[in-house]
């Protein structure tokens, strides 16, 4: 039996909702459900009734520039799911909510911060035998206002990360230990993931993203367990500026979520350029 979310000691427990809560309130109109997955076949094969799909590649990323969509495209996306700037969005997905956290992070860049993650994600919902459907909800048009993205609070860019690292700033590399040490440019069986050099940003601590969740239930660990992992285990300080990164910034958005909302790191940013940018940048230092 899982510990109730509000008894886990999180800094901001409202950012997590349980599968039970979603099931009990999904017809209430209090929130909009959004599923974000890595596997493009999952949502169409069955999803929580009423849930919309947001695809990380097609809906959130600009097709031309390596960047997120424009304010116009985001407004169009939010209008389709019937959102207003005040709407409470509940996100869930596969891979222990990795992609749901990524979507939540992008929502924060656009100032839509009234978001929660359904703890345990899609797998927990299915394993509990809760209802799924293939029927898609109606596409709406709520006329969501166009808001330009504000990257300053939650997103880190390469040169700022370089300065941060040079000053001894806190960095959390959420990739595998083998990638972190540079022992491998990629995981076993993987081809080179697009970086010329292996290693990590100088001074970074290595905490693979999935350590923040229970391997069996996909639920986030308690605050005590997370503190053991990040604070006692890696000597991170919740009051210092912190940057998370991985390969392209998606896994690290999961850790960004855990640090910011569950442990209360006030000044944490996600570096989405991550290793595919840093590991290829001319003149940028690495450690192995």
């Amino acid at each position: 039996m899982s510990t109730p979310i509000d008894e886990r000691g999180y800094a901001h427990p409202g950012v997590l909702v349980s599968t039970e809560w979603v099931d009990a309130h999904r017809d209430s109109g209090q929130f909009i459900l959004v599923e974000s997955n890595e596997d493009p076949l999952l949502y169409p094969s069955g999803h929580i009734p009423g849930a919309y799909e947001i695809d990380w590649a097609n809906d959130l990323n600009d097709p031309i520039v390596r960047d997120y969509v424009s304010g116009e495209a985001f407004a169009e996306l939010m209008s389709k799911i019937g959102a207003t700037p005040d709407s409470h969005i509940v996100l869930y997905g596969d891979r222990s909510n990795w992609w749901a956290c990524y979507t939540l992070w992008v929502f924060h860049l656009f100032g839509h911060t009234n978001c929660s993650i359904m703890d345990g994600g899609r797998l927990k919902w299915v394993q509990e035998g809760r209802e799924v459907t293939r029927e898609k909800p109606v596409v709406l048009d709520s006329n969501y206002p166009i808001r330009e993205r504000n990257d300053s609070e939650f997103r880190a860019f390469r040169d700022a990360v370089r300065a941060h690292a040079a000053e001894g700033g806190q960095l959390v590399d959420v990739r595998s230990p083998q990638e972190f040490t540079g022992e491998k440019l990629h995981m076993d069986g993987y081809p080179n993931e697009g970086a010329l050099r292996g290693g990590h940003i100088p001074g970074a601590k290595n905490v693979p993203w999935a350590k923040a969740v229970d391997a069996e239930t996909s639920e986030f660990l308690s605050a005590d367990a997370l503190r053991e992992l990040y604070l006692q285990g890696q000597a991170l300080d919740a009051n210092r500026e912190t940057v998370t990164y991985c390969r392209i910034g998606e896994r690290s958005s999961h850790t960004w979520f855990a640090l910011k909302f569950l442990l209360g790191f006030d000044k944490v940013k996600n570096y989405d350029g991550s290793w595919t940018e840093w590991g290829n940048s001319v003149g940028f230092p690495i450690e192995k």
Partner: protein
């Protein structure tokens, strides 16, 4: 330049008729739902040597020969959410079962992208591609 194994070419040809993304996805889901796991006797628990590296769907593959000397391709997909892996496993089984082992070498690594599209995440793409690589490598040992 090699050509695709005929049955796999046929599957891709059938999928090409679906010009709408949703229709194509439904067709791929149908393929995944046809997949039935087959594990050789005495192979449960599955040996690590059969595990597809880097595949989050926890796919295990066995490639052997039938009594008539054709390929015998079996998969197990442990993650019940691994529907793309199941669809690809079904494609590989339909395309290779009973065929000559050399035919497996004609499967391009790009098959995952050809089936599921370029918007696959790199991790998902790699996991699926490793299924193809493992089948090709195991089939090569049989030639």
């Amino acid at each position: 330049m090699s050509t695709l194994p005929p049955k796999i070419a046929e599957i891709l040809d059938d999928l090409s008729f679906f010009t709408e993304r949703d229709e194509r996805i439904q067709a791929l889901i149908s393929l995944g739902q046809k997949f039935v796991a087959h594990v050789p006797d005495g192979e449960d628990p599955y040996p690590e040597s059969r595990k597809v590296p880097g595949c989050e769907s926890e796919v295990y593959a066995w490639v052997g020969l039938t009594e008539s000397g054709g390929l015998d391709v079996k998969f197990a997909v442990r993650n019940p959410q691994g529907i793309s892996a199941m669809a690809l496993a079904e494609v590989l089984i339909q395309g290779l079962q009973g065929e000559k082992p050399t035919l497996a070498q004609d499967i391009p690594e790009s098959l995952a992208i050809d089936l599921f599209g370029e918007s696959l995440s790199m991790g998902k793409s790699l996991g699926l591609t490793n299924m193809i690589r493992l089948v090709r490598a195991e089939a090569a040992k049989l030639t």
